[in-house]
């Protein structure tokens, strides 16, 4: 009697421990198509934010993360947003205190692609103008007094 009980216990445990094999006979798979969004996070040096942590905020609750995830080694992360919550979704990527946030509009004026930041010529132009402003200030204050 004891032996039989032990046998049942083992069978029961094996079902608990290996549910995948135990229930692996009939599998049903459904599919539906959704729109996935892929983001690529890079530092301003052009290097990818490898394994950066992704935090997604829904428009209806901008303080609690809606989902979290991790970029791959090339700084890429693919996800789907809930189309029933229209508005601007915020997706933050951060690693070691570095990070950025991109705003993705859902419903209404959606864009196929978007990015944060400026192009290199824009950055060079802005840097040159600020630098010239500072040099001009230096020249103004160091001019000879008449």
């Amino acid at each position: 009697m004891k032996k039989i009980l032990r046998f049942y216990v083992v069978i029961f445990l094996s079902i608990l421990v290996f549910p995948a094999t135990a229930l692996g006979h009939g599998v049903e798979i459904d599919y539906r198509t959704t729109e996935a969004i892929e983001i690529t996070a890079t530092y301003d040096t052009g290097e990818p934010v490898s394994e950066g942590q992704v935090i997604i905020y829904a428009p209806n609750d901008p303080s609690t993360p809606w989902a979290t995830g991790k970029c791959d080694e090339k700084g890429r992360f693919t996800f789907t947003l809930d189309p029933s919550i229209p508005g601007t979704w915020d997706v933050q990527v951060r690693k070691a205190g570095h990070g950025g946030m991109i705003h993705i509009p859902v419903g209404g004026d959606e864009a196929a692609a978007g990015s944060t930041g400026y192009t290199t010529p824009q950055i060079i132009l802005m840097a040159a103008s600020v630098t010239w402003g500072l040099i001009g200030t230096a020249l103004f204050f160091s001019r000879r007094k008449n």
Partner: protein
């Protein structure tokens, strides 16, 4: 080194602004006590430009990449002008290049500017020890340059490690913050050598730029 928007909690950002305000007031008061406060403005303005551009000079330290900060150098050359110079430089970096952020401007200014002032005090010790000889200028220049960036890196490390939000993978984030902080050790040496070289150069060609006890 530059903490962007959305990383730190609001209370820390506000605290940063309060601290930056207090240090700015202190610096400006010290500057106004000088005989001719306008005298230092050209130098401060030029070094603000150098500070602005320095953050684009990236030094790869595998696996991370760090950039020059030059806050120790600003402290050595500018004295009390260093803090306003760093504040203005950070403002432009945040507004125009999204390097750092406006909510974290106070925190970043405090984190980089206070070590700059400490570097200045450290560099002044060269007159006490060694009476301003070339050796002591080089040595204290190195210590000030390396110490400025080192202290800033430690401050950023403490700020980031203590404010990792719970919804993140805390272990992974902590490990990458540690790696980034350690990557600043080679940068300390580079900035230390650079500051020492500049201090020695200025002492030779235009010592009044360093002296002045400004």
């Amino acid at each position: 080194m530059h903490i962007p928007d959305g990383v730190l909690p609001t209370s820390v950002c506000l605290g940063g602004y309060a601290a930056a305000g207090a240090v700015t007031w202190f610096s400006l008061r010290k500057i106004s006590q000088k005989e001719n406060p306008r005298e230092g403005i050209p130098k401060a303005s030029l070094l603000t430009a150098a500070f602005l551009v320095a953050s684009w000079i990236h030094i790869p330290v595998p696996p991370a990449s760090v950039h020059l900060v030059l806050n120790g150098l600003l402290g050595v050359v500018l004295g009390y002008y260093a803090f306003p110079a760093i504040l203005i430089g950070l403002f432009f970096q945040a507004v125009m290049f999204q390097h750092g952020g406006l909510t974290t401007l106070g925190v970043n200014a405090t984190v980089m500017g206070v070590p700059a002032l400490l570097a200045y005090y450290l560099f002044r010790l060269r007159n006490t020890f060694g009476r301003g000889s070339r050796l002591s200028t080089g040595l204290f220049g190195f210590l000030a340059g390396a110490g400025g960036i080192g202290l800033a890196a430690v401050a950023v490390f403490v700020l980031l490690v203590t404010t990792i939000p719970a919804h993140m993978d805390v272990e992974a984030e902590r490990a990458s913050i540690c790696a980034l902080t350690l990557a600043h050790i080679p940068l300390m040496i580079i900035e230390g050598v650079f500051t020492a070289a500049l201090a020695l150069f200025l002492q030779r060609v235009k010592p009044e730029l360093l002296e002045g006890e400004s």
